[in-house]
């Protein structure tokens, strides 16, 4: 979802052409069911539970062979899922709605963050008090143009008075430019800044009234058999429980897959994820579960700002039934 290498993304678009069979090949009797899970970013705590389930053999115990594929940079994950290049992928909920408008048909089967971790990060010195003040300030604004969240913010606060520049998913430009405000995952860039002793102020986008499901695991509708989906989601749910209980146990192994972020940074990030994952909703309904009312709110807001033209029923966008019935999370 973040832009590190747009060219790879364009090549990704090219690579998905010609791969039309979304259904994974049926496994031989007794063999584990193979699932190719495409991430939309590099290994970081935002995928902690997914990796924890892998490290602890939870997928294997469920009869699944899950291959976790990290994003080489700018992969067009929604399109890849829809074309069957991968069996499942992590994307944002609003991407499901956007792709639907262009002929795709995905459903969310598991939700990671109950509250969005997307925000803006500014240098703490002279930082404006609110997101609106930041939006209407002076200097450069580094965001992913075209993603619904910023379209919503623009509709809410008006076009930004700042100069919009591309978002590369790195912090080098932020460090070099004291006036730069950049898009962030609250669990990622601000953590790196803290560890470098660079004071920052973070504004969560929910402050503007938009709190989408930012990271869901999605599949093409009807492509994954119900029992496989149930086992897959249950394993992820258990993985997330274990990860949130003891992230330090898993982070060194995740850090080994992503040398750009240390285990120390990952521990701090996991700590900041807690209020976004462990909410009253997930406490009551289970990690990974989704609220149809939240989907409806997202649909209504995106429709109001012309990001989508039609308003699908929330039930058509999520297939989280196995998790709605899951036992309560501790």
């Amino acid at each position: 979802m973040r832009m590190r290498s747009i060219i790879v993304g364009l090549l990704g678009l090219a690579s998905i052409a010609g791969c039309g069979d979304a259904k994974p090949a049926a496994p031989a009797p007794g063999a584990p069911t193979r699932i190719r899970l495409q991430l939309n970013w590099v290994p970081e705590p935002e995928f902690g539970g997914i990796y924890a389930a892998q490290f602890d053999g939870l997928y294997r115990d469920a009869g699944l062979e899950v291959e976790i594929i990290k994003d080489p940079g700018g992969a067009a994950v929604p399109q890849m899922i829809d074309q069957g290049v991968c069996d499942a992928g992590t994307i944002s909920g609003d991407q499901i709605l956007q792709l639907r408008e262009q002929g795709g048909d995905l459903v969310a089967i598991y939700n990671v963050f109950d509250h969005t971790p997307i925000g803006l990060m500014a240098h703490a010195k002279d930082a404006p008090p609110t997101m609106e003040a930041v939006w209407k300030g002076e200097g450069n604004l580094s965001i992913e143009t075209g993603i619904p969240v910023w379209k919503f913010v623009a509709a809410k606060y008006g076009l930004t008075s700042r100069k919009q520049v591309p978002f590369g998913g790195v912090t080098a430009n932020f460090l070099a430019d004291p006036t730069l405000v950049q898009q962030c995952f609250i669990t990622s860039e601000p953590v790196l800044m803290d560890l470098q002793k660079v004071p920052v102020k973070v504004y969560n986008v929910s402050e503007a009234g938009y709190d989408p499901y930012t990271e869901v695991v999605a599949v093409k509708r009807g492509s994954m058999p119900a029992d496989v989906q149930r086992k897959f989601c249950a394993a992820m749910q258990e993985g997330w429980k274990r990860y949130m209980a003891d992230p330090a146990k898993y982070n060194p192994r995740i850090a080994a897959l992503n040398p750009a972020m240390s285990a120390e940074a990952m521990n701090l990030a996991a700590e900041r994820m807690k209020p976004l994952l462990l909410t009253p909703w997930t406490q009551a309904n289970g990690l990974g579960s989704m609220d149809p009312a939240r989907w409806q709110a997202m649909i209504d807001l995106l429709h109001a700002v012309n990001v989508i033209k039609t308003k699908p029923a929330p039930a058509s966008l999520m297939d989280g039934m196995p998790l709605q019935a899951a036992p309560r999370t501790q």
Partner: protein, 260 residues
């Protein structure tokens, strides 16, 4: 008029056939719009987003022309300098070659840090990609100067400047024009790649930004429209360079005389 039609007809005919086939394939296989939009959908996107695409094309054209102009200037000057001294050539040509091998995608983010966002970085990006063909063709053109003419200039004790201006540069012009034709297309590629990381978004966003934003929106029709317009910018630049080359060569060089 008739001759122009004869020249234009074959590629136009091929283009029409390709577009019809493309439209047919999309309709027959019912391909989703995000995967492969039909030409009619791309044309519709072009029309509906004409203001955004028009502004973007203008921005990219400016960056491409500026980057190409810089590359042409630097390429001819540097190529001439290398061509005038074997020592310089031995010392700097391998470095220039190495510079050409550096992947632009890798250094484009650094350009932003060094030069800031906006036109300066985009110009630099276009220039970096386009400079080497001009430099190499200038050098080759100078090397190919007629030895007999060199000798005559020597007999008359022509100075270094006079030799370059009146002998070597004119001999190198056909080669420089060829290099500039190659550089014209490369400058557009360099500008668009530069825009990916350094272009300003908003109402006046260049085509590189339109492409990345449309990718995120799964608006492949707009991606195709912006890519097609980038190609048009390349064609335009190529046409201008070819036209200027023809004007320069038409009275004396065999290639232009034959065309006439």
């Amino acid at each position: 008029m008739k001759r122009s039609l004869l020249v234009a007809m074959p590629p136009l005919l091929v283009l029409v056939i390709v577009l019809l086939l493309w439209e047919g394939v999309v309709a027959a296989w019912k391909l989703p719009a995000y995967l492969l939009p039909s030409p009619s959908a791309v044309a519709r996107a072009c029309w509906e987003e004409r203001a955004r695409l028009g502004a973007g094309t203008l921005q990219t054209l400016m960056a491409s022309v500026g980057g190409f102009g810089l590359a042409a200037l630097i390429g001819v000057v540097a190529g001439s300098a290398l061509g005038s001294s074997r020592m310089l050539q031995r010392g700097f040509y391998p470095l220039a070659l190495l510079f050409q091998m550096v992947p632009l995608v890798a250094i484009a983010p650094l350009l932003v840090i060094w030069l800031g966002y906006g036109l300066r970085s985009t110009l630099a990006s276009a220039c970096i990609v386009a400079v080497f063909p001009v430099l190499a063709s200038t050098l080759d053109g100078m090397r190919g100067t007629d030895a007999g003419l060199r000798e005559i200039f020597g007999i008359y004790r022509a100075g270094r400047w006079a030799r370059w201006w009146k002998l070597e540069l004119p001999s190198a012009v056909p080669s420089i024009v060829t290099g500039c034709r190659v550089a014209a297309g490369l400058a557009v590629i360099g500008a668009v790649v530069g825009e990916f990381v350094s272009g300003y978004a908003g109402d006046q966003a260049p085509l590189g930004i339109v492409i990345t934003a449309s990718m995120r929106e799964a608006r492949t029709d707009l991606v195709f429209a912006a890519v097609a317009l980038s190609a048009c910018v390349g064609f335009l630049l190529f046409g201008i360079v070819s036209g200027l080359g023809w004007l320069l060569l038409r009275r004396w060089h065999a290639s232009a005389v034959q065309e006439n």
